[in-house]
Subunit: 85 residues, 2 copies
C-alpha cells in the first residue's frame, strides 16, 4: 500500500510527529510524508500517531493508495523522491 500522510498538529507536538514519521516514510514538504508500507507498518504508523497527537485538537489525514501516484511539482521540490528510489 502507498500512503500520503498530511497533518495539522499543534506546534507543541509537531516535532514529535515529524520525527516519528521520518522513521517510516519519505518527507515531501512541510507536514507531508509519503511512502510504500506494508499493512503491518501502516498499523504501526497509525498507532504511533494516535499516541502522539491530541485527538481533540490535531488532525491527520491518511490517503491510502494502491501504488505511488502520478505527481507534478510546481516550483521547487523540497525533498526529491529520487533520493530514495
Amino acid at each position: 500500500m502507498y500512503v500520503v500522510i498530511v497533518y495539522d498538529v499543534a506546534v507543541e507536538r509537531v516535532n514529535k510527529v515529524k520525527k516519528f514519521l521520518r522513521r517510516h516514510l519519505h518527507w515531501v514538504q512541510n507536514s507531508v510524508f509519503e511512502g510504500e508500507v506494508t499493512l503491518a507498518e501502516f498499523e504501526r504508523i497509525k498507532a504511533g500517531l494516535l499516541d502522539l497527537i491530541d485527538e481533540d485538537e490535531d488532525s491527520v489525514v491518511i490517503y491510502k493508495l494502491r501504488s505511488m501516484p502520478k505527481r507534478e511539482v510546481l516550483g521547487m521540490e523540497k525533498n526529491p523522491l529520487e533520493d530514495i528510489i
Copy 2:
C-alpha cells in the same frame, strides 16, 4: 481526475494561494486541498498557481489520482468532505 494538492509557500504568498485554491477545490486542512477536476480545470489550476508562487522558493505537489482515494482521519477532521458531497 481527482487531485490532492499540498503546498509549502512563503508566508507573504500563502493567503493568495489558499484563496485561489478555495475557488476550485475542497480545503482539507492547513496547506492541503483536494477535489475532482476536469482536465481543463486542472490546467487552469496549474496556470493560476504558477502565476502566484515564486518557483525558486515555493513548492506545490499535485497528486493526480483516478478517483477519490480511500482515506482515514486520525483526530479531528478540520473540514469534513461530507459537507460538499
